[in-house]
Protein backbone atom coordinates (compact mmCIF):
# COMPACT_ATOMS: atom_id res chain seq x y z
CA UNK A 1 0.00 0.00 0.00
CA UNK A 2 1.26 3.45 -0.88
CA UNK A 3 1.16 5.85 2.01
CA UNK A 4 0.40 9.46 1.29
CA UNK A 5 3.07 12.15 1.52
CA UNK A 6 2.92 15.31 3.60
CA UNK A 7 4.29 18.33 1.79
CA UNK A 8 4.92 21.80 3.19
CA UNK A 9 5.16 24.69 0.73
CA UNK A 10 6.80 27.90 1.94
CA UNK A 11 5.35 30.68 -0.19
CA UNK A 12 4.24 34.15 0.85
CA UNK A 13 2.25 34.96 -2.27
CA UNK A 14 -1.17 33.35 -1.84
CA UNK A 15 -1.99 33.00 -5.52
CA UNK A 16 1.30 31.35 -6.26
CA UNK A 17 0.83 29.06 -3.28
CA UNK A 18 -2.60 27.95 -4.55
CA UNK A 19 -1.19 27.25 -7.99
CA UNK A 20 1.46 25.01 -6.47
CA UNK A 21 -0.98 23.27 -4.12
CA UNK A 22 -3.38 22.48 -6.97
CA UNK A 23 -0.63 21.04 -9.10
CA UNK A 24 0.72 18.92 -6.25
CA UNK A 25 -2.72 17.53 -5.36
CA UNK A 26 -3.14 16.33 -8.92
CA UNK A 27 0.18 14.52 -8.81
CA UNK A 28 -0.95 11.92 -6.32
CA UNK A 29 -1.87 11.20 -2.75
CA UNK A 30 -0.32 14.19 -1.05
CA UNK A 31 -1.39 16.42 1.78
CA UNK A 32 -0.15 19.97 1.31
CA UNK A 33 0.32 22.70 3.90
CA UNK A 34 1.28 26.25 3.01
CA UNK A 35 3.36 28.46 5.29
CA UNK A 36 3.09 32.10 4.36
CA UNK A 37 4.63 33.98 7.25
CA UNK A 38 8.23 32.94 7.74
CA UNK A 39 8.74 34.00 11.34
CA UNK A 40 9.39 30.91 13.45
CA UNK A 41 9.73 28.90 10.24
CA UNK A 42 11.48 25.90 11.78
CA UNK A 43 8.87 25.50 14.51
CA UNK A 44 5.97 25.75 12.08
CA UNK A 45 7.50 23.17 9.79
CA UNK A 46 8.10 20.78 12.69
CA UNK A 47 4.42 20.88 13.73
CA UNK A 48 3.39 19.53 10.32
CA UNK A 49 6.01 16.77 10.37
CA UNK A 50 6.37 16.90 6.57
CA UNK A 51 8.10 14.41 4.28
CA UNK A 52 9.07 17.17 1.88
CA UNK A 53 9.46 20.92 2.18
CA UNK A 54 9.35 22.99 -1.00
CA UNK A 55 10.62 26.56 -1.05
CA UNK A 56 11.34 29.12 -3.73
CA UNK A 57 15.06 29.28 -4.39
CA UNK A 58 15.00 33.09 -4.23
CA UNK A 59 13.45 33.12 -0.77
CA UNK A 60 15.98 34.49 1.75
CA UNK A 61 14.38 32.36 4.47
CA UNK A 62 15.85 29.29 2.84
CA UNK A 63 18.85 29.65 5.09
CA UNK A 64 16.61 29.03 8.10
CA UNK A 65 15.79 25.64 6.61
CA UNK A 66 19.46 24.82 6.29
CA UNK A 67 19.64 24.97 10.03
CA UNK A 68 17.20 22.06 10.24
CA UNK A 69 19.51 19.92 8.15
CA UNK A 70 22.29 20.27 10.68
CA UNK A 71 20.35 20.44 13.96
CA UNK A 72 21.55 17.91 16.49
CA UNK A 73 18.69 15.83 17.91
CA UNK A 74 16.83 13.41 15.60
CA UNK A 75 13.47 14.92 16.57
CA UNK A 76 14.67 18.40 15.74
CA UNK A 77 15.76 17.14 12.37
CA UNK A 78 12.66 16.70 10.28
CA UNK A 79 14.38 17.43 7.03
CA UNK A 80 17.59 16.63 5.24
CA UNK A 81 18.42 18.23 2.01
CA UNK A 82 17.12 16.46 -1.04
CA UNK A 83 20.19 17.20 -3.09
CA UNK A 84 22.32 15.14 -0.72
CA UNK A 85 20.50 12.08 -2.05
CA UNK A 86 21.37 10.05 -5.12
CA UNK A 87 18.93 11.78 -7.47
CA UNK A 88 21.45 14.41 -8.50
CA UNK A 89 19.88 15.19 -11.87
CA UNK A 90 16.55 15.93 -10.26
CA UNK A 91 18.23 18.35 -7.87
CA UNK A 92 19.89 20.23 -10.69
CA UNK A 93 16.60 20.52 -12.57
CA UNK A 94 14.94 21.78 -9.42
CA UNK A 95 17.60 24.45 -8.90
CA UNK A 96 17.23 25.53 -12.51
CA UNK A 97 13.46 25.84 -12.17
CA UNK A 98 13.83 27.90 -9.03
CA UNK A 99 12.65 25.42 -6.41
CA UNK A 100 14.52 23.91 -3.53
CA UNK A 101 13.28 20.71 -1.97
CA UNK A 102 14.15 19.40 1.45
CA UNK A 103 13.25 15.79 2.04
CA UNK A 104 13.15 13.64 5.12
CA UNK A 105 16.05 11.27 5.43
CA UNK A 106 15.38 7.78 4.17
CA UNK A 107 12.46 8.51 1.87
CA UNK A 108 12.81 6.51 -1.37
CA UNK A 109 13.60 8.50 -4.47
CA UNK A 110 10.77 6.97 -6.52
CA UNK A 111 8.20 8.27 -4.05
CA UNK A 112 9.57 11.78 -4.13
CA UNK A 113 10.02 11.98 -7.85
CA UNK A 114 6.43 12.65 -9.01
CA UNK A 115 6.01 15.36 -6.38
CA UNK A 116 9.26 17.07 -7.22
CA UNK A 117 8.61 16.75 -10.95
CA UNK A 118 5.26 18.48 -10.53
CA UNK A 119 6.80 21.18 -8.38
CA UNK A 120 9.56 21.75 -10.94
CA UNK A 121 7.04 22.17 -13.74
CA UNK A 122 4.92 24.54 -11.68
CA UNK A 123 7.85 26.64 -10.50
CA UNK A 124 9.12 26.91 -14.04
CA UNK A 125 5.84 28.47 -15.11
CA UNK A 126 5.84 30.83 -12.13
CA UNK A 127 9.42 31.84 -12.70
CA UNK A 128 8.75 32.64 -16.31
CA UNK A 129 5.76 34.77 -15.34
CA UNK A 130 7.91 36.66 -12.87
CA UNK A 131 10.68 37.24 -15.41
CA UNK A 132 8.15 38.56 -17.89
CA UNK A 133 6.67 40.87 -15.28
CA UNK A 134 10.12 42.20 -14.39
CA UNK A 135 10.91 42.72 -18.09
CA UNK A 136 7.69 44.65 -18.60
CA UNK A 137 8.42 46.84 -15.60
CA UNK A 138 11.92 47.54 -16.81
CA UNK A 139 10.66 48.43 -20.27
CA UNK A 140 8.15 50.85 -18.72
CA UNK A 141 10.88 52.48 -16.62
CA UNK A 142 13.11 52.87 -19.66
CA UNK A 143 10.24 54.34 -21.64
CA UNK A 144 9.83 57.00 -18.96
CA UNK A 145 13.53 57.90 -18.94
CA UNK A 146 13.63 58.07 -22.73
CA UNK A 147 10.59 60.35 -22.73
CA UNK A 148 12.25 62.66 -20.22
CA UNK A 149 15.46 62.73 -22.25
CA UNK A 150 13.47 63.52 -25.37
CA UNK A 151 11.77 66.39 -23.54
CA UNK A 152 15.12 67.77 -22.41
CA UNK A 153 16.52 67.65 -25.94
CA UNK A 154 13.41 69.23 -27.43
CA UNK A 155 13.66 72.11 -25.00
CA UNK A 156 17.42 72.59 -25.20
CA UNK A 157 17.79 72.30 -28.97
CA UNK A 158 14.37 73.39 -30.14
CA UNK A 159 13.81 70.19 -32.13
CA UNK A 160 10.75 68.03 -32.67
CA UNK A 161 10.09 64.84 -30.75
CA UNK A 162 11.10 62.67 -33.69
CA UNK A 163 14.32 64.60 -34.16
CA UNK A 164 15.09 64.30 -30.46
CA UNK A 165 14.63 60.53 -30.58
CA UNK A 166 16.72 60.28 -33.74
CA UNK A 167 19.50 62.16 -31.95
CA UNK A 168 19.36 59.81 -28.99
CA UNK A 169 19.44 56.80 -31.26
CA UNK A 170 22.32 58.12 -33.33
CA UNK A 171 24.36 58.85 -30.19
CA UNK A 172 23.61 55.39 -28.85
CA UNK A 173 24.72 53.78 -32.11
CA UNK A 174 27.89 55.85 -32.32
CA UNK A 175 28.84 55.02 -28.75
CA UNK A 176 27.74 51.40 -28.99
CA UNK A 177 25.32 51.82 -26.09
CA UNK A 178 21.62 51.26 -25.55
CA UNK A 179 19.25 54.18 -26.18
CA UNK A 180 17.93 53.82 -22.63
CA UNK A 181 21.47 54.18 -21.23
CA UNK A 182 22.18 57.31 -23.24
CA UNK A 183 18.84 58.75 -22.12
CA UNK A 184 19.61 57.97 -18.50
CA UNK A 185 23.03 59.64 -18.74
CA UNK A 186 21.42 62.74 -20.19
CA UNK A 187 18.75 62.89 -17.50
CA UNK A 188 21.38 62.43 -14.77
CA UNK A 189 23.64 65.08 -16.27
CA UNK A 190 20.83 67.59 -16.61
CA UNK A 191 19.85 66.90 -12.99
CA UNK A 192 23.42 67.76 -11.96
CA UNK A 193 23.50 70.93 -14.05
CA UNK A 194 20.11 72.29 -13.06
Amino acid sequence: MKQHLTVVVVEQNQERAFAIVDALKESGDVEVFVIGNVSGLARKIATHGPDIVLIDIDNPSRDMLEELTVASGPLERPVAMFVSGAAGGLAKAAVEAGVSAYVVDGLQAERIKPVIDTAIARFQVLRQMRTELAETRRALEERKVIDRAKGLLMKAKGVSEDEAYALLRKTAMNQNRRVADVAEALVTASGLLS
Binding site: I57, P60, S61, D63, M64, E66, E67, M81, V95
Partner: protein, 389 residues
Protein backbone atom coordinates in the same frame (compact mmCIF):
# COMPACT_ATOMS: atom_id res chain seq x y z
CA UNK B 1 40.01 42.99 -26.69
CA UNK B 2 37.35 40.36 -26.36
CA UNK B 3 36.57 39.37 -22.84
CA UNK B 4 35.19 36.10 -21.51
CA UNK B 5 32.08 36.54 -19.38
CA UNK B 6 32.44 34.85 -16.01
CA UNK B 7 29.34 34.41 -13.85
CA UNK B 8 30.14 35.02 -10.17
CA UNK B 9 27.67 34.98 -7.26
CA UNK B 10 27.88 37.21 -4.21
CA UNK B 11 25.82 38.21 -1.18
CA UNK B 12 25.04 41.92 -0.83
CA UNK B 13 27.53 42.67 1.97
CA UNK B 14 30.37 45.14 2.46
CA UNK B 15 32.89 42.31 2.18
CA UNK B 16 31.78 41.54 -1.38
CA UNK B 17 33.78 44.71 -2.17
CA UNK B 18 36.73 43.03 -3.94
CA UNK B 19 34.41 41.47 -6.54
CA UNK B 20 32.35 44.62 -7.02
CA UNK B 21 35.47 46.79 -7.27
CA UNK B 22 37.11 44.37 -9.72
CA UNK B 23 34.08 44.82 -11.95
CA UNK B 24 33.54 48.56 -11.48
CA UNK B 25 37.21 49.56 -11.78
CA UNK B 26 37.74 47.30 -14.77
CA UNK B 27 40.35 45.03 -13.17
CA UNK B 28 38.41 42.19 -14.77
CA UNK B 29 38.67 43.58 -18.31
CA UNK B 30 42.39 44.14 -17.84
CA UNK B 31 42.67 40.36 -17.36
CA UNK B 32 40.50 39.56 -20.36
CA UNK B 33 37.45 38.54 -18.37
CA UNK B 34 34.17 40.24 -17.66
CA UNK B 35 32.65 39.54 -14.24
CA UNK B 36 28.95 38.87 -14.49
CA UNK B 37 28.05 39.50 -10.84
CA UNK B 38 24.88 37.85 -9.61
CA UNK B 39 23.45 38.72 -6.22
CA UNK B 40 22.13 35.72 -4.26
CA UNK B 41 19.09 35.95 -1.96
CA UNK B 42 20.50 33.49 0.58
CA UNK B 43 23.70 31.62 1.35
CA UNK B 44 22.12 28.25 0.55
CA UNK B 45 21.02 29.59 -2.80
CA UNK B 46 24.51 30.95 -3.47
CA UNK B 47 26.08 27.61 -2.56
CA UNK B 48 23.69 25.77 -4.88
CA UNK B 49 24.40 28.20 -7.73
CA UNK B 50 28.08 27.38 -7.37
CA UNK B 51 27.71 23.64 -6.74
CA UNK B 52 25.37 23.08 -9.70
CA UNK B 53 27.40 25.18 -12.12
CA UNK B 54 25.13 28.20 -12.53
CA UNK B 55 28.10 30.35 -11.63
CA UNK B 56 31.81 29.56 -11.83
CA UNK B 57 32.95 31.34 -8.67
CA UNK B 58 31.44 32.85 -5.55
CA UNK B 59 31.95 35.07 -2.51
CA UNK B 60 31.49 32.45 0.18
CA UNK B 61 31.55 32.13 3.97
CA UNK B 62 34.93 30.58 4.78
CA UNK B 63 33.51 27.63 6.79
CA UNK B 64 31.12 26.50 4.01
CA UNK B 65 33.65 24.78 1.71
CA UNK B 66 35.30 23.24 4.78
CA UNK B 67 31.97 21.90 6.09
CA UNK B 68 31.18 20.51 2.64
CA UNK B 69 34.51 18.70 2.53
CA UNK B 70 33.68 17.14 5.89
CA UNK B 71 30.31 15.93 4.58
CA UNK B 72 28.29 18.29 6.74
CA UNK B 73 25.07 19.95 5.57
CA UNK B 74 23.90 18.38 2.36
CA UNK B 75 25.66 19.05 -0.90
CA UNK B 76 29.02 17.41 -1.40
CA UNK B 77 30.43 19.04 -4.57
CA UNK B 78 34.13 19.53 -3.80
CA UNK B 79 34.99 23.22 -3.62
CA UNK B 80 38.29 25.08 -3.37
CA UNK B 81 38.90 28.33 -1.52
CA UNK B 82 41.46 29.84 -3.88
CA UNK B 83 41.97 33.00 -1.86
CA UNK B 84 40.62 34.72 1.22
CA UNK B 85 38.51 37.72 0.17
CA UNK B 86 38.48 39.46 3.54
CA UNK B 87 39.61 39.19 7.16
CA UNK B 88 37.09 40.11 9.86
CA UNK B 89 34.17 42.45 9.21
CA UNK B 90 31.44 41.13 11.53
CA UNK B 91 29.74 42.86 14.43
CA UNK B 92 27.98 41.52 17.48
CA UNK B 93 24.96 43.52 18.58
CA UNK B 94 22.26 43.27 21.23
CA UNK B 95 18.61 44.29 21.28
CA UNK B 96 17.46 47.51 22.95
CA UNK B 97 16.36 45.81 26.20
CA UNK B 98 19.71 44.10 26.71
CA UNK B 99 21.54 47.29 25.75
CA UNK B 100 19.61 49.19 28.41
CA UNK B 101 20.35 46.62 31.10
CA UNK B 102 24.03 46.66 30.16
CA UNK B 103 24.07 50.45 30.43
CA UNK B 104 22.24 50.30 33.81
CA UNK B 105 24.99 47.99 35.09
CA UNK B 106 27.47 50.71 34.19
CA UNK B 107 28.96 48.84 31.23
CA UNK B 108 30.79 51.36 29.05
CA UNK B 109 30.50 49.61 25.63
CA UNK B 110 34.24 49.88 25.02
CA UNK B 111 33.83 47.94 21.74
CA UNK B 112 37.19 46.22 22.12
CA UNK B 113 37.45 43.96 25.18
CA UNK B 114 35.65 40.70 24.34
CA UNK B 115 36.21 39.15 27.78
CA UNK B 116 34.70 42.14 29.59
CA UNK B 117 31.81 42.32 27.12
CA UNK B 118 31.08 38.61 27.65
CA UNK B 119 31.10 39.00 31.43
CA UNK B 120 28.82 42.04 31.29
CA UNK B 121 26.41 40.38 28.88
CA UNK B 122 26.26 37.26 31.08
CA UNK B 123 25.23 39.46 33.99
CA UNK B 124 22.61 41.37 31.97
CA UNK B 125 21.06 38.43 30.12
CA UNK B 126 18.33 36.08 31.29
CA UNK B 127 18.82 32.31 31.53
CA UNK B 128 18.36 31.85 27.80
CA UNK B 129 20.14 33.99 25.23
CA UNK B 130 19.19 33.67 21.57
CA UNK B 131 21.68 34.85 18.93
CA UNK B 132 20.83 35.34 15.27
CA UNK B 133 23.48 34.46 12.67
CA UNK B 134 23.31 34.44 8.86
CA UNK B 135 24.11 30.76 8.26
CA UNK B 136 24.77 27.55 10.23
CA UNK B 137 28.28 27.28 8.70
CA UNK B 138 29.85 30.69 9.12
CA UNK B 139 32.63 32.53 10.90
CA UNK B 140 29.79 34.25 12.80
CA UNK B 141 28.87 30.96 14.47
CA UNK B 142 32.49 30.00 15.12
CA UNK B 143 33.37 33.35 16.68
CA UNK B 144 30.21 33.37 18.81
CA UNK B 145 30.75 29.83 20.08
CA UNK B 146 34.41 30.49 20.80
CA UNK B 147 33.53 33.68 22.66
CA UNK B 148 30.63 32.13 24.60
CA UNK B 149 32.78 29.15 25.67
CA UNK B 150 35.52 31.41 27.00
CA UNK B 151 33.42 33.84 29.03
CA UNK B 152 30.70 33.90 31.68
CA UNK B 153 28.22 33.30 28.89
CA UNK B 154 29.17 29.62 29.05
CA UNK B 155 26.90 29.29 32.10
CA UNK B 156 23.88 30.44 30.08
CA UNK B 157 21.71 28.49 27.72
CA UNK B 158 22.85 30.03 24.45
CA UNK B 159 20.87 29.27 21.31
CA UNK B 160 22.07 30.18 17.84
CA UNK B 161 19.44 30.65 15.15
CA UNK B 162 19.72 31.38 11.45
CA UNK B 163 18.27 34.70 10.29
CA UNK B 164 19.01 36.17 6.84
CA UNK B 165 21.15 39.34 7.32
CA UNK B 166 18.66 41.84 5.83
CA UNK B 167 16.00 40.48 8.24
CA UNK B 168 18.24 40.66 11.35
CA UNK B 169 16.92 44.04 12.55
CA UNK B 170 13.35 42.86 12.06
CA UNK B 171 13.96 39.64 14.03
CA UNK B 172 15.49 41.68 16.85
CA UNK B 173 12.54 44.08 16.89
CA UNK B 174 10.11 41.15 16.86
CA UNK B 175 11.78 39.53 19.87
CA UNK B 176 12.73 36.38 17.93
CA UNK B 177 16.37 36.91 18.85
CA UNK B 178 18.07 38.75 21.75
CA UNK B 179 21.34 39.49 19.98
CA UNK B 180 23.15 38.82 16.71
CA UNK B 181 26.43 38.41 14.93
CA UNK B 182 26.26 39.67 11.35
CA UNK B 183 28.36 41.17 8.58
CA UNK B 184 28.18 44.87 7.82
CA UNK B 185 26.19 46.89 6.88
CA UNK B 186 23.42 44.91 8.60
CA UNK B 187 24.62 45.55 12.16
CA UNK B 188 24.75 49.31 11.57
CA UNK B 189 21.40 49.00 9.85
CA UNK B 190 19.90 47.64 13.11
CA UNK B 191 21.40 50.58 15.04
CA UNK B 192 19.98 53.09 12.57
CA UNK B 193 16.67 51.27 12.73
CA UNK B 194 16.70 51.97 16.46
CA UNK B 195 16.31 48.33 17.51
CA UNK B 196 19.70 47.60 19.05
CA UNK B 197 23.25 48.59 19.94
CA UNK B 198 26.60 47.20 18.81
CA UNK B 199 28.65 45.38 21.43
CA UNK B 200 31.79 44.13 19.70
CA UNK B 201 33.47 43.87 16.31
CA UNK B 202 34.24 40.26 15.38
CA UNK B 203 37.88 41.30 15.37
CA UNK B 204 37.80 41.61 19.18
CA UNK B 205 37.36 37.81 19.39
CA UNK B 206 39.97 36.82 16.81
CA UNK B 207 42.06 39.54 15.18
CA UNK B 208 42.68 37.54 11.99
CA UNK B 209 39.53 35.57 11.27
CA UNK B 210 39.20 34.61 7.59
CA UNK B 211 35.69 35.83 6.84
CA UNK B 212 34.88 35.26 3.16
CA UNK B 213 36.71 33.26 0.53
CA UNK B 214 36.74 33.20 -3.24
CA UNK B 215 35.36 29.74 -3.93
CA UNK B 216 35.26 27.67 -7.13
CA UNK B 217 34.45 24.06 -7.96
CA UNK B 218 37.57 21.85 -7.95
CA UNK B 219 36.53 20.50 -11.30
CA UNK B 220 36.34 24.02 -12.80
CA UNK B 221 39.69 25.01 -11.28
CA UNK B 222 41.32 22.05 -13.00
CA UNK B 223 39.64 22.61 -16.36
CA UNK B 224 39.91 26.40 -16.59
CA UNK B 225 43.29 27.33 -15.12
CA UNK B 226 43.57 30.44 -17.32
CA UNK B 227 40.19 31.82 -16.32
CA UNK B 228 40.91 30.98 -12.70
CA UNK B 229 44.20 32.88 -12.84
CA UNK B 230 42.56 35.90 -14.49
CA UNK B 231 39.82 35.92 -11.85
CA UNK B 232 42.29 35.64 -8.97
CA UNK B 233 44.50 38.43 -10.31
CA UNK B 234 41.56 40.78 -10.94
CA UNK B 235 40.22 40.22 -7.44
CA UNK B 236 43.67 40.54 -5.86
CA UNK B 237 44.19 43.89 -7.63
CA UNK B 238 40.79 45.05 -6.39
CA UNK B 239 41.83 44.16 -2.83
CA UNK B 240 45.05 46.13 -3.23
CA UNK B 241 43.10 49.12 -4.56
CA UNK B 242 40.74 48.87 -1.58
CA UNK B 243 43.66 48.86 0.85
CA UNK B 244 44.38 52.45 -0.16
CA UNK B 245 42.57 54.72 2.28
CA UNK B 246 41.84 57.19 -0.52
CA UNK B 247 39.82 54.56 -2.39
CA UNK B 248 37.33 53.90 0.31
CA UNK B 249 34.89 56.77 -0.23
CA UNK B 250 34.65 55.79 -3.88
CA UNK B 251 34.21 52.17 -2.85
CA UNK B 252 31.31 53.07 -0.52
CA UNK B 253 29.71 54.89 -3.39
CA UNK B 254 30.06 51.89 -5.72
CA UNK B 255 28.79 49.39 -3.19
CA UNK B 256 25.79 51.54 -2.28
CA UNK B 257 24.36 51.40 -5.79
CA UNK B 258 20.99 49.86 -6.31
CA UNK B 259 22.36 46.91 -8.25
CA UNK B 260 24.69 45.99 -5.37
CA UNK B 261 23.83 46.70 -1.71
CA UNK B 262 21.12 49.32 -2.19
CA UNK B 263 21.75 51.09 1.15
CA UNK B 264 23.12 54.57 1.77
CA UNK B 265 26.88 55.03 1.22
CA UNK B 266 27.10 56.50 4.72
CA UNK B 267 26.11 53.13 6.20
CA UNK B 268 28.82 51.35 4.18
CA UNK B 269 31.41 53.99 5.12
CA UNK B 270 31.27 52.88 8.73
CA UNK B 271 32.71 49.44 8.00
CA UNK B 272 35.21 50.62 5.38
CA UNK B 273 36.47 53.50 7.55
CA UNK B 274 36.18 51.58 10.83
CA UNK B 275 34.12 54.35 12.39
CA UNK B 276 30.99 53.06 14.02
CA UNK B 277 27.87 54.50 15.51
CA UNK B 278 27.12 51.89 18.13
CA UNK B 279 23.82 53.09 19.56
CA UNK B 280 20.78 55.12 18.67
CA UNK B 281 22.20 57.82 20.96
CA UNK B 282 24.95 58.30 18.41
CA UNK B 283 27.96 57.05 20.45
CA UNK B 284 30.99 56.62 18.21
CA UNK B 285 33.70 53.95 18.31
CA UNK B 286 36.79 53.45 16.14
CA UNK B 287 38.07 50.05 15.00
CA UNK B 288 41.35 50.09 13.15
CA UNK B 289 41.29 47.61 10.27
CA UNK B 290 37.71 46.53 10.93
CA UNK B 291 37.72 44.65 7.64
CA UNK B 292 40.93 43.88 5.72
CA UNK B 293 41.17 43.09 2.01
CA UNK B 294 44.91 43.13 1.38
CA UNK B 295 47.49 44.15 3.99
CA UNK B 296 49.57 41.53 5.80
CA UNK B 297 48.84 38.83 3.19
CA UNK B 298 45.18 39.04 4.19
CA UNK B 299 44.12 37.19 1.06
CA UNK B 300 46.53 34.26 1.46
CA UNK B 301 44.51 31.09 2.13
CA UNK B 302 46.47 29.66 5.07
CA UNK B 303 45.96 25.94 5.52
CA UNK B 304 45.99 26.52 9.25
CA UNK B 305 42.89 28.72 8.94
CA UNK B 306 41.02 25.82 7.33
CA UNK B 307 42.29 23.53 10.08
CA UNK B 308 41.04 25.84 12.80
CA UNK B 309 37.57 25.87 11.23
CA UNK B 310 37.62 22.08 10.77
CA UNK B 311 38.76 21.62 14.37
CA UNK B 312 35.74 23.52 15.69
CA UNK B 313 33.29 21.81 13.32
CA UNK B 314 34.67 18.35 14.08
CA UNK B 315 34.43 18.80 17.86
CA UNK B 316 30.78 19.88 17.64
CA UNK B 317 29.72 17.22 15.16
CA UNK B 318 31.56 14.24 16.63
CA UNK B 319 34.00 13.79 13.76
CA UNK B 320 37.60 12.66 14.20
CA UNK B 321 39.48 15.91 14.66
CA UNK B 322 42.81 15.12 13.05
CA UNK B 323 41.18 13.52 9.98
CA UNK B 324 38.94 16.55 9.62
CA UNK B 325 41.90 18.93 9.81
CA UNK B 326 43.76 17.00 7.13
CA UNK B 327 40.71 17.03 4.84
CA UNK B 328 40.14 20.74 5.42
CA UNK B 329 43.74 21.73 4.69
CA UNK B 330 43.20 20.59 1.09
CA UNK B 331 40.28 23.02 0.69
CA UNK B 332 42.31 26.22 1.25
CA UNK B 333 44.44 26.30 -1.88
CA UNK B 334 47.67 28.04 -0.93
CA UNK B 335 49.24 26.10 -3.83
CA UNK B 336 46.95 27.73 -6.43
CA UNK B 337 47.42 31.14 -4.79
CA UNK B 338 51.20 30.88 -5.15
CA UNK B 339 50.93 29.60 -8.72
CA UNK B 340 48.51 32.27 -10.02
CA UNK B 341 49.70 35.36 -8.17
CA UNK B 342 53.40 34.75 -8.61
CA UNK B 343 55.12 37.69 -10.30
CA UNK B 344 52.37 40.22 -9.55
CA UNK B 345 54.19 41.68 -6.62
CA UNK B 346 51.97 39.67 -4.28
CA UNK B 347 53.74 39.00 -1.03
CA UNK B 348 53.34 35.30 -0.47
CA UNK B 349 54.63 33.87 2.80
CA UNK B 350 57.26 31.16 2.87
CA UNK B 351 55.04 28.77 4.80
CA UNK B 352 51.48 27.64 4.15
CA UNK B 353 50.61 27.18 7.80
CA UNK B 354 51.05 29.33 10.85
CA UNK B 355 50.24 29.04 14.52
CA UNK B 356 46.89 30.83 14.66
CA UNK B 357 46.72 33.09 17.68
CA UNK B 358 50.47 33.19 18.26
CA UNK B 359 51.34 36.72 17.09
CA UNK B 360 50.74 39.34 19.78
CA UNK B 361 52.41 42.08 17.70
CA UNK B 362 53.08 42.75 14.01
CA UNK B 363 55.91 40.50 12.89
CA UNK B 364 58.08 40.29 9.78
CA UNK B 365 58.20 36.81 8.29
CA UNK B 366 59.94 35.00 5.46
CA UNK B 367 58.28 35.77 2.13
CA UNK B 368 58.86 36.02 -1.63
CA UNK B 369 60.00 39.67 -1.60
CA UNK B 370 61.19 39.71 1.98
CA UNK B 371 58.90 42.53 3.01
CA UNK B 372 55.92 40.72 4.46
CA UNK B 373 54.73 41.87 7.85
CA UNK B 374 51.97 39.83 9.41
CA UNK B 375 49.50 41.75 11.56
CA UNK B 376 48.84 40.74 15.18
CA UNK B 377 47.03 37.40 15.30
CA UNK B 378 45.50 36.70 18.70
CA UNK B 379 42.35 35.21 20.17
CA UNK B 380 40.71 37.20 22.95
CA UNK B 381 41.59 34.44 25.45
CA UNK B 382 45.24 34.38 24.24
CA UNK B 383 45.03 30.69 23.38
CA UNK B 384 47.21 29.40 20.55
CA UNK B 385 45.80 26.91 18.06
CA UNK B 386 48.02 23.95 17.36
CA UNK B 387 46.72 21.67 14.62
CA UNK B 388 46.55 17.97 15.43
CA UNK B 389 46.11 16.78 11.84
Amino acid sequence: MRTVALPVAYMPLVDAAPLIVAREMGFDHAEGISLDLRPAPSWSSLRDMLAFGHVDAAHLLSPVPVAMALGLGGIATPLSAVSVLSLNGNVIGVGSQLAERLADQGYDFDFSDAAAAGAALAKAAGDVLVFGVPFPFSMHVELLRYWVAGTGLASKQVEIRTVPPPLMAQALAGGEIDAFCVGEPWGSFAVDDNVGALLLPGKAIWTCAPEKVLAVRNHWAENEPHLLGALMRAVWRAGRWLSNADSRTTASEMLSRKTYLNVSPELIDRALMGEFTISARGEQRRVKGFVEFYDGAATFPWRSQAKWIAHQLALRNGIDVSTAERQAARVFRSDLYRRELFGLGAETPGASEKLEGALPVSTAVASTNGSLILPPNVFFDRRIFEPTG
